[in-house]
Structures are given as structure tokens and as C-alpha cells.
Subunit: 145 residues, 2 copies
DNA sequence: TTGACTGCAAATTGTTTGCATCATG
DNA sequence: CATGATGCAAACAATTTGCAGTCAA
């Protein structure tokens, strides 16, 4: 079983940045690897912490600038929950976030499950839902008892 | 026309604060009146501006503290859109916000219209949607051409 | 009189930016 | 060696807080 999966994925993303006129750097690679490790869904702050465990010199602003470059290349997107920092995730995963206001945990729902809902809204209000950029607030099963 | 002391909506809200151990003050009254004028849906910054037009001494922190007191008494709530400040509105108005990421305008949808959607989510994921505290991001009819 | 409310300034949090320097391509 | 990337500090925007004085009940 070849263990090239992770390396390749990071490489692919660095290539993508390269194609868009960017450069491959160690910081960027480390940031991308962290994103892959956690499968997206992480704040800039958390990325910085993890990256700095191995490369203490990497600055938070580099994290933000890299996230911005990744966004511009369409690799990642971010969601906002009620308060606090944005959470970054890969655009490839097409899902919606259910954010529990009590335990602050996030549950993912495949975007396809919301198909009837989003099309109903579009029909009624002409509003095209961007299901990659909205979090639904509420209370999860465990917390709403 | 007889002079009758009319109980205003602002009075009712001040009473509500009073019942919860708070005090009626001029600043609070002015802030509540602004909220009523615009029927909710306003940022703290905008409230401060409007209040300060008539009472320049009222500080922004008083606005925030009053909004917090109103929230604690259940009179108002706030929503977050993708970026920027929170928007405050009365809890009585039971609706959902459709936020256009392009023109940044907000369209309101009566919560009842989302009934099937929210109950479907609750059935499938045990997640109880707080439809007073989520904004749906996307693109409105005019902007999605 | 008591303690809630206020103004003011300063702290916080999350994110962005200016600038000099570094290093990839 | 040109230009994009980086570290650092400082600017930012939105909101919160500490403190001492004020005022409603």
C-alpha cells in the first residue's frame, strides 16, 4: 500500500497555486498538509498553531495570506458560524454545516440532502443559495434534550 | 381631542427591562426608539450614529450594553452575515434572512415557509434549527442573472 | 443610599497591511 | 534577478471591559 496519497494531494495543490502564478514554499506546503490532515474544517488560528509546532518561524499572517491564495485558486472556502473565527475547508466537499450553539460542534450534511429546500427557495424568491458558504445555527440532538 | 397618556412600544420594552431588574434611562429609550423606527434590522454602529444625532453624548459602549440587556430580556436577537457587524432585530418577527453576497442586501422570508425544511433536518439529524439566528448566504434574483 | 448605568479609554479578537528582506523560478 | 512570499509590527474593525463617576428607584 503506497503512502503517496497525502504527498500527492499537497503537491497537486501546490501545483495549482503554481499555475496561478504563485510559488511553492515550505510554509505553504506545511499549511496545506495541516489542512489535509484535518480534512479541512479548521480555523486560521488552529492552522497556525499546528504549523508552528514544527516550524515556529511561520507567522500567522503567512497563514492568512496562504489561505487567501488557496481561496483565490478555488481550492478552499470558509464558513462563518455565529461568532468567532472563520473555518476553512476544501471546496471539493460539497456540504452544509449544522452548527450547535450549545456544544459548538459542527455536523456535516451532504449538499444533495438539501436539494428540495434550496430549489424551493430559488423558485419562491429567485434566491440561489450558496450552500458552500452558509452555516445553519441551532441545537444538535445531544444538546436539545 | 382629549389628552390621553398613550403607552408606547418603547415604554413596553423599558418596562420589560425594568421587570428584569434594569433601569429606565434616556439612552436606553433613545436606542429602543431607533430600533422601533427601523423595525429592527440594524447594526450597533448604525444605532449609535442615529442616537448620537440627537444625543451626541451617548457612547457606543452604551449601545452595546443596552443591546446586550435587550437580548438578555429576550426582546431582540442578532444575526451574522458572512463578514462585518451583527444585525439586531426583534425576536417577535419570526423570519429568516437571505443575504446576497453580491449586492449585500437582505431579503426576509417568513419562518413558516421553511417549516418542511427545518422539520426534515430535525427528523434526519436530530438537529433543531434556530431559524432566528441563521442567515442564508447566496445570490439574489437580480444578481444571479 | 445602593447598585445599575454611563463615558472614556484601553484591552481583545480576528484579520489585514506596509515595508524591508528573502528566496523561488 | 524579478517578483512573489515572508516576518514583524502596526493598523484594523467589531466588540468587550475596567474604572470611576452618575443617576434611577
Amino acid at each position: 500500500m503506497p503512502k503517496v496519497t497525502k504527498k500527492t494531494a499537497a503537491d497537486d495543490i501546490l501545483d495549482r497555486l503554481r499555475e496561478d502564478g504563485g510559488r511553492r514554499t515550505a510554509s505553504r506546503q506545511a499549511i496545506i498538509e495541516v489542512l489535509l490532515e484535518v480534512d479541512g474544517h479548521i480555523t486560521a488560528e488552529e492552522i497556525a498553531e499546528r504549523v508552528q509546532q514544527r516550524f515556529p518561524s511561520v507567522n500567522k499572517s503567512t497563514v492568512y495570506r496562504t489561505l487567501s491564495a488557496l481561496h483565490d485558486s478555488g481550492v478552499i472556502a470558509h464558513v462563518h458560524f455565529g461568532h468567532g473565527s472563520a473555518t476553512y475547508h476544501f471546496t471539493a466537499e460539497d456540504h452544509v454545516h449544522l452548527f450547535c450553539e450549545t456544544c459548538e460542534e459542527v455536523q456535516e450534511v451532504p449538499a444533495s440532502k438539501l436539494g428540495e429546500f434550496t430549489s424551493a427557495i430559488e423558485r419562491a424568491y429567485g434566491f440561489r443559495v450558496d450552500h458552500r458558504h452558509f452555516a445553519i445555527m441551532g441545537r444538535c440532538g445531544r444538546c436539545s434534550t
